[in-house]
């Protein structure tokens, strides 16, 4: 075989090895959108429902500045920030998180005002 140099280099015509033509479909397709934005976010893992924040306050306990004693939390809901689900015209919202301090657990709840629009 003799190689031909120059502009014909890309068009080597070897019998049986011809470059096929481009397919005949249209090249005017729209760019695909970002599908991720159309989808719902993934479901919340169900085990996060077991937060200590939903424990009802012990209605028979005396006013105790040290706070009620709660059961031990599940490891999975530690260090997750929760927000209270109050009805919409609300002026106060509460945020809660359970975290571990050394070998004990502390659940902190903070009440914050909601700024009026």
């Amino acid at each position: 075989m003799s190689h031909q140099y120059g502009e014909d280099q890309d068009r080597v015509n070897v019998a049986g090895f011809e470059i096929p033509n481009s397919p005949e479909a249209s090249y005017n397709n729209a760019y695909p959108g970002n599908e991720d934005e159309g989808r719902e976010p993934p479901m919340l893992p169900q085990h996060l429902q077991h937060t200590l924040l939903n424990q009802p306050t012990n209605s028979n306990s005396n006013i105790d500045p040290c706070g009620p004693h709660l059961p031990l939390p599940q490891n999975v809901c530690l260090n997750h920030l929760y927000i209270e689900n109050r009805e919409s015209p609300r002026s106060v919202v509460s945020l809660g998180v359970t975290h571990r301090f050394r070998s004990k657990f502390v659940t902190v709840v903070l009440y914050k005002p909601v700024p009026r629009r």
Binding site: I63, P65, C66, F101
Partner: protein, 421 residues
Amino acid sequence: MIFEFSIILLILHLQYKFVVDVNTILLTRESDFLPAMLNPQVPPSVPGSSMDVDNEVFQRVVRVTDGTSPESFPIISEADLEISRHRTAVFLSTHMAYELLPESGKVIALDVDLPVKQAFHILHEQGISTAPLWDFSKAKFVGVLSVLDFILIMRELGTHGSNLTEEELETHTISAWKEAKLYLSTQVNGLGSAVPRQLVQAGPDDSLKEVALKILQNGVATVPILHSLSSDASNPRLLHLASLSGILKCICRFFKHSPSSLPILQYPLCAVPVGTWVPKIGEPNRQPLAMLRPSASLGAALNLLLQAQVSSIPIVDDNDSLLDVYSRSDITTLAKDKIYAHVNLEEITIHQALQYRDDPFSTYGYNNQKCHMCLRSDPIHKILERLSQPGVRRLVIVEAGSKRVEGIISVGDIFRFLLGI
């Protein structure tokens, strides 16, 4: 025979001062203990008088003081007192605040820009009497909101209430209130510049003794336990609200299994000069114990709580028999149904306020305020165990049977006594 003696004892009890005869204190069963007194001339150091409990009356006579009177002397022996104080001090110095934290505890904090009205509701809903205040702009805890603040606010509303519009009540924030409070206190004290009080706080590795001293010396009820990983104390984490009851609980738990190491535990309450007692005839230089009738106005009760700087007032009938106790923390029950906006402090009687507190049908009904009573003959270990229950900060000392109020003993009294302050 015994009954006759008892009646004589009672009469003499009211008329004579008592002298203690330490050597003949017989620590028998609780029920045998009679705070008897005969023969006030018995000198304190008479040794070895044989006391046969069944046939004779105890020659022991008890003198009760509030511990601050210059004439007081400890009835419990000096040796036992010193041992008890020393061992308590050692325990408190060697145990840390971390021990106060429950295995899984909850603490509630408030944003300092919350309206006071909302804060009132939250304290009531959550059943708490104190909450630390968080300032987002400074990223730190700046103070504590307690029932004392509400009493002051109620009093201000009572005197100037008509001047504040509904709108102003709705939006009056905690930080605005704290500034106003600072201003008011400088007016009263005549101080030049208002230096805001720093938050009294402690860390988990501070000793229990440091925490107790902070509470007593600053006149606060609770101290937040904060922890920060960085050395400049930024990003503090709120761990717990420490109170004297919690520390007392640690003490009781520790000494429960070796009660003999704290001799004071076995003595009856009247043998220890602690607490505030109703002054007897012939003791004019003692502070009277603040008490009120149920017909007194709520305004009078709040004023008394503030002026006498006490945390509760026994409510008694005309015979000075105990009916109930009105505490500072009961002020949060006024948050029910927003009655505080329409309340006129002078028109509500204590009786009505107590009924409102105990209403079993209220939304957050917790009927928890049994008045906690004790007898002067109760042993100290029992008193301490009761005082270390959460929410019990004081016991009213009553006479058996008639429930006449004889005095009050609080957790603060115990600690001041044990720490020798």
